[in-house]
Symmetry: none
Subunit: 212 residues, 2 copies
């Protein structure tokens, strides 16, 4: 299944020379992450709309099938499969082993409360071992705590054994249950559908791929 959001490292463009010798005040077309995110959402909206329209079409077509007025195949599914290239990948921070070790250590030291100031310090410290931002640190602690908690909670359910309320998911105490997959799918498909949504417009199919 082609992921619409497949990773695709954004190439860092060289700022082109902007030939005007005007004191070097040339503009460059720059897009922030946020702007890209906006674009992404916009496209997602289109994808959703297209999906809805297709759905409507299918319904109508189905009706017509009953009436024996089938209009013929308007879809051409397989044609568009090569579309899935992404505008940008949302790059995500990955802690270096050293950073991770330090973080883990800090976490164990019991400071369950990484205050704002503390975060700054930690970030500063860790930045000597690799790229990192305060947000990264903040998120890390958030996640660490949440997941630690959940794990413990899961382990505790060993005693009470009170039936299926929490959906005891797996024998291997995974963190992710089948439920998640289910919920998740509804979103992902909406974004992807547009890809499959191909149409018999020649002009369209040729253009419908992203920067690569």
């Amino acid at each position: 299944m082609m992921e619409w959001d497949k990773q695709h490292q954004q190439k860092e463009q060289e700022i082109e020379g902007n030939g005007n010798g005007n004191g070097g005040v040339g503009f460059v077309k720059v897009m922030t992450d946020e702007q890209l995110e906006t674009l992404r959402k916009q496209i997602a909206v289109y994808a959703t709309i297209c999906e809805q329209l297709v759905e409507m079409h299918k319904n109508l077509t189905a009706q017509q099938d009953l009436a024996g007025v089938r209009m013929g195949n308007l879809y051409c599914d397989p044609l568009m499969t090569s579309v899935g290239h992404k505008i940008t990948a949302r790059q995500r921070w990955t802690p270096t082993p050293v950073q991770l070790q330090i973080l883990e250590q800090l976490f164990d030291q019991g400071n369950g409360t990484p205050s704002k100031q503390k975060i700054k310090e930690i970030t500063s410290e860790l930045s000597q071992h690799g790229q990192i931002s305060e947000t990264n640190v903040y998120n890390w602690f958030q996640n660490r705590r949440a997941r630690s908690k959940r794990k413990q909670q899961n382990a505790t359910s060993n005693n009470a054994e009170s039936e299926v309320e929490t959906e005891v998911d797996s024998p291997k105490d995974k963190k992710k249950g089948p439920q998640d997959q289910l919920l998740q799918s509804q979103q992902n498909t909406s974004a992807q559908r547009a890809e499959d949504l191909c149409f018999q417009n020649p002009e369209m199919s040729s253009d419908l791929h992203f920067l690569d």
Copy 2:
């Protein structure tokens, strides 16, 4: 409404680096004219697809009208509303793309103060595009503002490289640059129109394209 042409100036963007010490080699997210052009085409393609689908839908609907088997208005926003009630209903509200677009639009309109009355109106409006409550709207605005703020603060602090910590966050840089407005508006317009499109709105085709 079409403000695509309104803003063409580029804002020079901050260096995303947070790349510390490491020689201070920051990358900038740059998008070339060519890439932007590709994007435009891409979006235009979506617009075209939507148009075509609508056209088809109209045709089909017309046919069925003749047959006297009119189905009536099909449901829009199937993403959440119809699928939503499995046995395990989702406990947390998730805005549909369309709702999100509208919310973003409202947010951008600057009214930092969504009064109680306003909330009601918005909720009422949005409820046509999916389930939503006043609390949802309220929370959304709260969160949106808070996070927007934090983001700007974070983005601003990306200037230091050779020194360690510089505790800076004074500049009141606006969250959205001109470019954003550009993207925003176009996407809002499209979303709005496309929304109407969900119910066989005959006049959608006039507005559903942008980007020349």
